[in-house]
């Protein structure tokens, strides 16, 4: 057996030119397969951690997925807001430890504007319990003094080239359909958040009172004709918000979550809805993750192509090895030995392919990890071969072995029909 393996290795070494290409193609498919699987797992994890530490998300009664979409991902618009009175009731619930109310609806060049309270910077968590950090500047104060202050997410500042001290003008409406601008009440950037890889990066944060102030002289989504309140005047009005879009709630005790949820859902004065973000994110991932699963399917195909290549190369080399196999037969190798020789070669190539695939993956990971984390907030765990990845690897290995059974069988038939001399 050891002799056979030595011969297999030496023979493979002799044909290294072709075989290295085969190993490379297996390596690339393994890299692709595991890389995409890794990315899928880590992307899901990052997605699931877009918010963390939030026990309930409260909004008007819509679908839970929709509520997550606009509250966590700040996508699309809320069809209904909730009244300030109801919001107060939720925030003052005895089980609530902290609550971050926010109002959506305006935008800055396509980036959503989030009206909220300074608690946002204190309590909001993402990833594995990470707090928001300011890259520079300070949070808005939430007081009348700094009414028109804005804190930008990292991507907003980056893409629009804004820095602390710059002035910005918000637009009414969200996304690309924003029509009219709140040009009479410009804001000043006071701080920029460090990148988080979550939708926070794409948000512009202002105080709830500021949202109220810029809409004082508005009615039904348009400036009231012939009536306007100048920016400074606005401070004299009651700037208590009339509505908010959603509230992120942290409870004193996680055990109370279902009770609190039931209490909010059955709130009598208004139709409210409280959802558990984990459950809703799971539902949302079912939709978003479809693309990731399709990608995985493609990479499985790529791996199959790599292994078919292995089979083709080993089969094609049989003719050129006919002589070698016949000589081995004549010096005492049995057809079984010939079979083992061929299968060992397949196993050797697959193993080398998998190992170099893992190497490539590690290299690619090292190269791409900072970039992925910075821009997509995906934390790649380089050395974490989870159960799934190991299963994938084992099935690649087994398929490689299986792919060399056919050449092995052919070789062993060939060596029998050739007798002691190859028939060319």
């Amino acid at each position: 057996m050891r002799t056979l393996l030595r011969i297999a290795a030496a023979s493979a070494w002799n044909r290294r030119g072709t075989l290295i290409l085969t190993v490379l193609s297996i390596a690339l498919s393994v890299t692709l397969l595991l890389g995409i699987e890794r990315l899928r797992v880590d992307a899901k994890e990052s997605f699931m951690q877009s918010v963390s530490g939030v026990d309930l998300v409260v909004g008007a009664r819509t679908g839970s997925v929709q509520l997550m979409l606009y509250s966590v991902f700040r996508m699309g618009g809320a069809t209904h807001d909730i009244g300030w009175k109801s919001a107060q009731a939720v925030m003052n619930d005895p089980a609530v430890k902290w609550a971050i109310p926010f109002a959506l609806g305006d935008s800055l060049q396509g980036f959503p504007v989030l009206g909220t309270t300074p608690d946002y910077f204190r309590y909001f968590r993402y990833g594995e319990d990470k707090a928001l950090v300011l890259a520079y500047g300070r949070p808005f104060t939430g007081e009348l003094e700094g009414l028109y202050e804005a804190v930008l997410g990292a991507e907003v500042a980056d893409r629009l080239g804004l820095r602390a001290g710059d002035g910005i003008v918000l637009a009414h409406g969200s996304g690309e359909n924003a029509l009219s601008e709140h040009a009479d009440k410009p804001f000043r950037v006071v701080g920029v958040l460090a990148p988080t890889g979550t939708p926070v990066d794409r948000s512009v944060h202002v105080s709830l009172a500021a949202i109220e102030a810029i809409h004082l002289d508005w009615q039904g989504g348009a400036p009231t004709p012939g009536f306007s309140i100048p920016a400074l005047q606005a401070r004299k009005f009651d700037l208590t918000p009339k509505t908010v879009t959603a509230i992120l709630v942290g409870l004193k005790s996680r055990a109370a979550v279902f009770q609190a949820q039931r209490r909010i859902n059955s709130y009598r004065d208004e139709a409210l809805m409280a959802v558990l973000p984990g459950v809703a994110l799971d539902e949302l991932w079912e939709i978003v993750g479809l693309a990731a699963r399709a990608l995985l399917a493609v990479s499985i195909l790529a791996a199959a192509v790599g292994l078919a290549g292995l089979m083709a190369v080993v089969l094609a080399s049989l003719n050129e090895r006919r002589r070698e196999l016949a000589i081995l037969r004549s010096v005492g190798a049995s057809p079984r030995d010939i079979f083992i020789l061929l299968v060992a070669e397949g196993a050797l190539l697959t193993t080398l392919g998998i190992l170099s695939g893992l190497g490539l993956l590690a290299l690619a990971g090292v190269a791409a990890a900072p970039w992925l984390e910075h821009y997509y907030g995906i934390l790649i765990k380089l050395w974490a071969l989870d159960e799934n990845a190991i299963k994938l690897l084992l099935s690649v290995w087994a398929s490689g072995l299986a792919a060399s059974l056919l050449p092995g069988w052919r070789a062993c038939r060939m060596s029998l029909s050739d007798g002691l001399q190859p028939r060319l």
């Binding site: 000589i327 037969r329 004549s330 010096v331 005492g332 049995s334 002691l420 001399q421």
Partner: protein
């Protein structure tokens, strides 16, 4: 056919070794056909004594290679008896036959004898890699490597060639390496299928003499096949396959 029943001095330490067989190879009413075709060979009687050196000739396509494949147990007769060293090959399982062959038979072919990417020495040592008996017998005096070196030297191969890859050798040198390999570990019978056909006339004779001498000194029987009848003069015994074979259709010169 004459046979010299020489005193058998073959060492029988190995359990599978037949007990001092008088004949290296015997055939009785042996019939063989390729697949479903009409028989290719039908030999009523053939004997090769231990230590005998026999020249077997016949025109191309007369079935010489088929005959040797049968003698070596690569092919199995369809009817009749074929005994190699007293062992009925047809009665052995395929695996036992493979073992038996490597333990007791050495081969030299017309060409393509060596694995091109292996060194000369490794090529020579191949039988010892697959057969424990050959390894044991090769290490009786010293070690397999030393025995291989002795044979290579006896076959006039320079020591500086031993580490070379086989493909870098001339055809004549390759044939001598093949002979050394066939002889290593003292198999009881050497089967040579036209080993001189790709050599020029001078080298043919030199090679044949080296091979015959080594067979004689190791006590191996030699079954030497060629279509070149001139070589018959170099042997005490010779036979013509078309005369042995009762099937008359095959064969064209």
């Amino acid at each position: 056919m004459v046979s010299i029943a020489a005193a058998n001095t073959v060492d029988n330490a190995y359990p599978a070794a037949p007990a001092s067989p008088q004949f290296a190879l015997t055939m009785r009413d042996m019939v063989f056909a390729w697949g479903k075709a009409s028989p290719c060979l039908d030999v009523s009687a053939f004997e090769l004594s231990a230590r005998e050196q026999l020249f077997l000739c016949g025109p191309s396509g007369s079935g010489k290679s088929t005959f040797l494949n049968l003698a070596a147990g690569v092919l199995v007769p369809d009817a009749g008896s074929l005994c190699l060293l007293g062992e009925e090959l047809g009665a052995l399982s395929a695996i036992r036959r493979d073992r038996f062959r490597v333990d007791h038979v050495g081969f030299v072919f017309q060409n393509f004898n060596l694995i091109p990417w292996m060194s000369v020495l490794e090529n020579t040592l191949l039988p010892c890699r697959f057969s424990r008996r050959r390894r044991q017998r090769a290490s009786r005096a010293t070690s397999p490597e030393a025995e291989a070196a002795r044979l290579l030297r006896a076959l006039d191969l320079d020591a500086n060639l031993w580490r070379q890859q086989a493909m870098k050798l001339s055809v004549g040198q390759q044939q001598r390496v093949a002979a050394a390999r066939a002889l290593l570990g003292c198999p009881e019978i050497i089967i040579a299928d036209e080993p001189t056909s790709s050599l020029d006339a001078d080298r043919q004779l030199i090679f044949l003499e080296l091979l015959q001498n080594e067979c004689a000194s190791s006590g191996a029987a030699l079954l030497f096949v060629s279509h070149d009848e001139r070589l018959a003069a170099r042997f005490h015994h010779s036979a013509r396959l078309p005369e042995l074979n009762r099937v008359k259709s095959g064969g064209s010169s």
